[in-house]
């Protein structure tokens, strides 16, 4: 299995100011890396999930995600926004954006890795470290250490 995230999939200076734009810019990184085959299908799947209930949670986190036919392997793209983007959480805009894609027919072992990623997001220490990360490589190392225990 390839890595959950690579430095190409990290944007520490997300310029977008709106949910859809921010998601699209991160999704384009996934497409460029060959992890998303059809950008429009992927975007529609993310929007469908977001429409059920916005995925923002308190503490400045947005977690757009979907299971999609257009995703080839479990993958994560990470964006950091200095000004913040409204993601539907009650306590204000999101500064840390995690775009998670899962293959539509993904087996349980694929999903387990995403499940352990989701569990890490709860921990304030993980969030804090991501806020402070100096470069994309640091983010990748952090995710590997926290999620995969490597």
């Amino acid at each position: 299995m390839a890595d959950l995230i690579t430095p190409d999939l990290v944007d520490l200076e997300l310029s977008a100011t709106e949910r859809g734009q921010a998601t699209r810019s991160l999704a384009e990184r996934l497409q460029a890396a060959g992890r998303v085959t059809d950008l429009e299908v992927f975007m529609a799947d993310v929007r469908a999930r977001e429409a059920q209930m916005p995925t923002g949670i308190e503490g400045g986190i947005g977690i757009p995600h979907c299971r999609s036919e257009s995703v080839t392997e479990p993958t994560l793209a990470f964006g950091r926004s200095a000004q913040g983007i409204d993601w539907g959480a009650a306590d204000g805009p999101a500064h840390l954006i995690f775009l998670i894609g899962a293959p539509a027919g993904g087996g349980a072992e694929h999903m387990t890795i995403l499940a352990s990623l989701a569990r890490r997001l709860i921990h304030a220490s993980f969030r804090e470290a991501l806020r402070e990360a100096p470069n994309p490589e640091a983010v990748v190392t952090l995710v590997k250490k926290e999620v995969l225990g490597q």
Partner: protein, 501 residues
Amino acid sequence: MKIVAVTSCPTGIAHTYMAAEALEQAAKAAGHDIQVETQGAAGAEAIPAEAIAAADAVVFAADVEVRDRERFAGKPLVQTSVKRAINDAPGLIGEAEAAARSGVATPTADAAAPAGGAGPAPATKVDQQAHLGTRLRQWLMTGVSYMIPFVAAGGILIALAFLLGGPEVANKVNGGTFAGVEYPPVEDLSDLLVQAGYAGLMFKIGAVAFSMLVPILAGFIAYAMGDRPALVAGIVAGLLANEIGAGFLGGLAGGLLAGATVMAIKRIKVPRGVAGVMPVVVIPLVSTLVVGALMLVVIGQPIAALQSGLTDWLDGLSGSNAILLGIILGLMMAFDMGGPVNKVAYAFGIGALASGNLKVMAAVMAAGMTPPLGLALATVVRKNLFTKAERQAGEAAWLLGASFITEGAIPFAAGDPLRVIPSLMVGSALTGALVMGFGNTSRAPHGGIWVVGLIGKPVLYIIAILIGTVVTAASVVVLKSAGRGEVETETAATRAATATS
């Protein structure tokens, strides 16, 4: 404190696990044990039934329907959205503590969200259809598990009243003739103690507990299907089943109808503003009206017609072959245990008694005793065919059967009608035929074994009842063994449902 929780969200890859982690952290921080079942895409590892049974409180943090939620029935419950668990897990754990302390299911502000907002995920729906048979049994067993204490408390009080005050205590309270003596009914309850004594007091209390048997059965079948909003329609359906004389089969139908109606209403998408009042006002109001009207109009009329038809038919049969009459009365007594068909047979026995034919009454009473006795025997000889709740009901069934309280068999029949009812009918038909063949007589309209002094040829009478009891038990064991596979799943559900009772 021990907590069990289920987390579930529409996609099942992110919030389900975040909520689980948040709950685990918060519970740990507060010094509690917690087990979380994540119903997400990585596959749900079901919480063991023992852990559920041992839990002090249940937390549902779910935006889609919790799968197999019947497992958690009867536990103090805190239900909320998955996001609430992520954003405020410590607060939620605090609510779980409060729920465990008060011992009742506490709604939270978000409780309406799963009911009125996002519907069940398509995958869950398919699952539901595939296991409809299993789910049906779980619904029925939930109703049964809540009903059993009413059967036990009410039935044993009535039996004790017979024992302490003599079987005529029923007539001292309700009026009527017993062994040739006419008793006036108690008109004013404040005269109860003077007119009927302490035994009369016990009989009255037992009778009131018994009158709740069908409403509780119907109510909690509906509750298992549609949650709290369905309880009122189910209980009202059960009360109406009492009023129209539809018996426990009418209550069973009414409970299922109420649950199905609520499940159907929940599927309707409503605007956000209305969603909040759906579970509290709209669903109870609409479902109760619909189900109540169906019970009165669609079920009530045919039952009245059926009863008068059966009565005419029995009248035509009297004077023909006595053994055939015994078989028919036995079949009728065991068919619905206090329902419309049973009542016709019993009324026929009372009518015969009043006109001086004491044989019919003897057959009716014996055939009404074997269903609980046979089931009690079956729970002893084949423990593993019955749930824990059923085995407990079996202990009370000895006394109820011996006292001619046929309703003692209802918990078994309501949980598995297609196998249990035919078995009871076989045993009762045989008993009815034997009593008619032996030429037994009874001068008492009720009382069971406690009026053996009023029975003609008592030894043969007891032999007839013993044979019927053994045949009933054997039939139940044979039919239940044929459907062995399903009992396993039901056992887990019932263990959870009855853990608090």
